[in-house]
């Protein structure tokens, strides 16, 4: 074995990364598991900060037992967990290995540069939330649905006392049920799609009884907390001066156009809103990994049967291959680890196990695609944007300005809109406004996920990045 080189670097310590690193460790690989958070778990198994003294963090979680099992496997194998590592790029090395560049610190921007070398890379960076803007969405008190969940799991805080949950996707039910359990009043869950969409994919439901059971659990929670579920509706405006005081909920037609005159106000002091998740694939696209367009118009990494991307030596698992949830993420993480072990000349374990995992993966992927199709934003949503609604918050670009770039200046795609208006050039690099700008540009394409720097870093850290900063496998394990 080459000194200083791990067998595998896993980027992301959520369910997919944990399962991948744990399995690889059990199969005898030397693994580095990098994540920006201090503790493993990712967004799904986010834990309260130690200082908060949470007695039962599992109370806020589904499937905590699975997480405990994953952590145990991690401890047993040869896995070095490198927390607070913010990976900004993966680069092909000269000898067919990979260099993973990261900055280390609580806030990546101020961190110390490190480089981790490995023979294989598993991308398991998860996803981030898709936002569709509406008038008033920049008011304090308006938070992401996933963000509200994270605040609750990680900080044990509620975004408000009376919280409307809105947007689209299965996450909304989970968020509403968590918020209500933690003591918030949730007057309504506003879902833009209709759940009838699932009925169009009967096979996907029939082969995934566990998914049905999850849905029933959330449905029961809504009933118990007297939360109204309103489908085919959207929050089309948030009102308030200092912070959100009420929202207008409008009915939507099949194309998500607001039905005129259908608006109804609901008083609240917070709004948790999100329109599904977007795979975090920029590390892969920078390497040239091929992508596919999902049923809800996001880009995901194109993955082969062993979870390998189109770039040999780079694998993907979990949401990076299309948003599908923690259960599938664990399966894919394990499949990837076995495929990587085989590539590196190790025993990948029993063939039967791989076959079993593969067929479960196929089932869950089918369900995920049905779910994505059901909750895909309709093209009419831009109808609730006013010309003065801010679309890009970082650069303060309005919908009117974007429309002008398209109508008058020859912009035909999101990239050109960005060049002409600066929408997407700011701090978040279009993660927040990408979906909206693409729709307004009208090219029908999912937003490109080209961000050669996956996270910001200081010029000093970039300039100081040298070979002497390499992070290597522990000597005791050689």
């Amino acid at each position: 074995m080459v000194t200083g080189v791990f067998d595998l670097v896993v980027v992301g310590a959520g369910p997919a990364g944990l399962a991948g690193a744990g399995t690889a460790g059990e199969l005898g690989l030397r693994v580095a598991l990098l994540d920006m958070a201090e503790h493993v778990g990712g967004q799904f198994y986010r834990q309260p900060a130690a200082g908060l003294g949470a007695a039962r963090p599992e109370a806020l979680h589904h499937d905590w037992d699975a997480f405990v099992a994953l952590r145990k496997r991690l401890a047993a194998g040869r896995v070095e967990h490198l927390g607070r590592h913010h990976v900004w790029a993966v680069e092909r090395g000269a000898d067919g290995d990979w260099a993973v560049h990261a900055v280390v610190g609580d806030d990546g921007g101020d961190g110390r540069p490190v480089r981790v070398r490995a023979r294989a890379v598993l991308l398991a960076a998860g996803a981030y939330e898709r936002q569709l803007p509406f008038p008033g969405w920049t008011l304090p008190g308006v938070v992401g649905a996933g963000g509200a969940q994270a605040m609750l799991k990680g900080g044990l805080v509620l975004p408000g006392k009376r919280v409307v949950v809105a947007g689209s996707g299965p996450l909304l039910l989970a968020v509403a049920s968590s918020l209500a359990s933690a003591g918030a009043e949730v007057p309504a869950v506003i879902e833009a799609s209709g759940y009838l969409g699932y009925a169009r994919h009967p096979r996907a439901l029939a082969v995934n009884p566990r998914k049905l059971a999850e849905g029933l659990t959330h449905g029961a929670a809504l009933l118990r907390h007297r939360i109204a579920l309103r489908t085919r509706s959207a929050v089309t405006e948030a009102h308030g001066s200092e912070r959100v005081e009420a929202v207008t909920v409008s009915r939507l037609d099949a194309r998500w156009r607001p039905v005129p005159g259908s608006g109804r106000r609901i008083a609240c002091d917070a709004l948790a809103v999100g329109h599904g998740l977007v795979p975090g694939i920029e590390l892969g696209t920078t390497l040239g990994c091929g992508t596919r367009t999902t049923a809800d118009n996001t880009l995901a990494l194109h993955l082969g049967s062993g979870q390998e991307t189109s770039v040999r030596g780079v694998w993907g698992a979990g949401e990076v291959g299309g948003v599908a949830g923690a259960q599938l993420a664990c399966i894919e993480g394990e499949l990837a680890a076995r495929s990587i072990a085989a590539r590196l000349g190790r025993d990948p374990g029993p063939e039967g196990r791989v076959r079993q995992l593969s067929s479960r993966r196929t089932r869950l992927r089918t369900f995920a695609e049905a779910m994505a199709a059901t909750h895909a934003p309709g093209p009419g949503w831009t109808g609730w944007l006013c010309d003065d609604t801010e679309v890009c918050r970082c650069e303060e670009v309005t919908a009117g300005r974007v429309r002008e770039a398209v109508a008058d200046q020859g912009a035909r795609d999101a990239r050109t809109v960005k060049l002409f208006t600066r929408a997407g050039m700011g701090w978040c690099q279009g993660r927040m406004c990408g979906a909206a700008v693409s729709c307004l540009a009208g090219d029908g394409q999912p937003p490109a996920q080209r961000r050669p720097l996956a996270v910001p870093l200081t010029l000093g850290a970039l300039a100081g990045q040298g070979p002497e900063d390499a992070s290597e496998p522990s000597q005791s394990q050689t």
Partner: protein, 390 residues
């Protein structure tokens, strides 16, 4: 518009936009075609350098001086949105030897008409308060300026009144008796015109090939780093004296000498690495590292500033590092306006003027023989196309 235009410009980057602009001002009817959006190629990846400071006396400097004058005039005509800033350039030398070389270079430029001002080491902070201490001295070039390239291209096009057809990839040239150009073919149809201008930038060689002639335009990759928005900490275009040697170099290897500048929108831009690696967008960590090291050496205060973005672009270069501008004697009706390497934004207006003069039979503002598009044919140098304006 259904009637036949006088000229078709292929390429909606800054050079194509300038060609359309000056041709329209000369009274011609223009159609602009591009396979992508406006500014979708190298223009959209450019920093917007309008430099005279980096050019040695010779034909390119002559172009640059004339173009600087035209940019000043355009800035009066076009909306403020193009972000034209006559901010001036500051070239600094770290040691005595470099300073002597820089001063010799500047003296020759001054004879060629460039305004240069020697800046002693102790006067550098007057121009750039945050510049590193301990530099040997520098030269201030007040004629250097900056523009936002994509916005400049779109505003030039709009002001021209040209018909702009986007998403039209040219797949062939239409020719008539004697091989004269009659228009172009695209995937969706044909466009007729007696003249066609090749303003396809880095892809200009491919269009020349469709016309059956050689124009060896090749890509030279560059990375730009973009920082988080800052108050004005960098006032000029600031770079180290070794940049000039990099620009003129024939080497394929990575060269980096940071050019640092602020922008009206806030971010500091740091260019510009130079590599000949084909159309490869793969991230080069060594290139970024050297840009960052160069920038922080010039401005130590930037060490704590975050880079939020980087992008690559492909400069179109020709073997002798001069653009191809003017009529192509090999194909009647074909004109070229490409191969400007890293100077396309700066040289766009003068290129547009020359093309308009060629089309109308006017006398171009500079001697265009060094830019003869046929000069690479068979290694025989300039052909019968010399004096293209005639």
């Amino acid at each position: 518009m259904t009637s036949t235009p006088d000229v078709i410009v292929v390429g909606a980057g800054i050079v194509g936009a300038a060609c359309a602009h000056y041709a329209a001002r000369a009274g011609l009817r223009v159609t602009v075609l591009d396979r992508g959006p406006v500014a979708g190629g190298t223009t959209g990846s450019g920093e917007g350098n309008l430099l005279v400071s980096d050019k040695a006396p010779g034909p390119e400097l002559e172009l640059a001086l004339k173009s600087a004058e035209l940019w000043r005039e355009l800035a009066e005509r076009l909306p403020h949105g193009i972000e034209y800033e006559p901010k001036g350039g500051l070239v600094v030398a770290s040691g005595e030897a470099a300073l002597t070389a820089l001063r010799t270079f500047a003296a020759a430029q001054e004879k060629a008409g460039v305004t240069v001002r020697d800046v002693a080491a102790d006067r550098l902070p007057d121009l750039e308060p945050h510049l590193a201490r301990g530099l040997a001295g520098g030269v201030h070039y007040p004629q250097d300026a900056q523009v936002m390239p994509a916005l400049a291209a779109t505003h030039l096009l709009r002001a021209s009144g040209a018909e702009v057809r986007l998403g039209q990839e040219v797949t062939g040239l239409l020719t008539g008796p004697g091989g004269a150009v009659r228009g172009v073919r695209t995937a969706s149809g044909v466009f007729h015109a007696p003249y066609v201008v090749n303003a396809a930038g880095t892809w200009g060689g491919e269009l020349a090939r469709l016309a059956g002639v050689l124009l060896p335009v090749l890509p030279r990759r560059g990375f730009v780093l973009v920082t988080e928005p800052l108050p004005r900490v960098v006032r000029h275009k600031v770079y180290a004296a070794d940049y000039v040697a990099d620009v003129a170099s024939d080497s394929a290897a990575l060269q980096t000498s940071a050019v640092v500048e602020g922008t009206p929108a806030g971010p500091v831009l740091i260019g510009a690495s130079r590599e000949r690696v084909g159309f490869d967008r793969a991230l080069s960590v060594p290139a970024l590292r050297r840009l960052a090291a160069g920038a922080t050496a010039l401005f130590p205060v930037l060490a704590g500033v975050r880079v939020i973005r980087t992008y690559a672009g492909f400069r179109p270069y020709l073997p002798d590092h001069l653009p191809a501008i003017g009529t192509d004697a090999r194909v009647p009706g074909l004109l070229h306006a490409c191969g400007h390497e890293g100077a396309g934004i700066g040289l766009a207006p003068v290129t547009g003027r020359i093309i308009a003069d060629c089309l109308t039979g006017a006398q171009p503002p500079v001697d265009v023989r060094p830019f003869d598009p046929a000069r690479f044919e068979g290694g025989t140098g300039t052909g019968a196309g010399a004096g293209a304006g005639a």
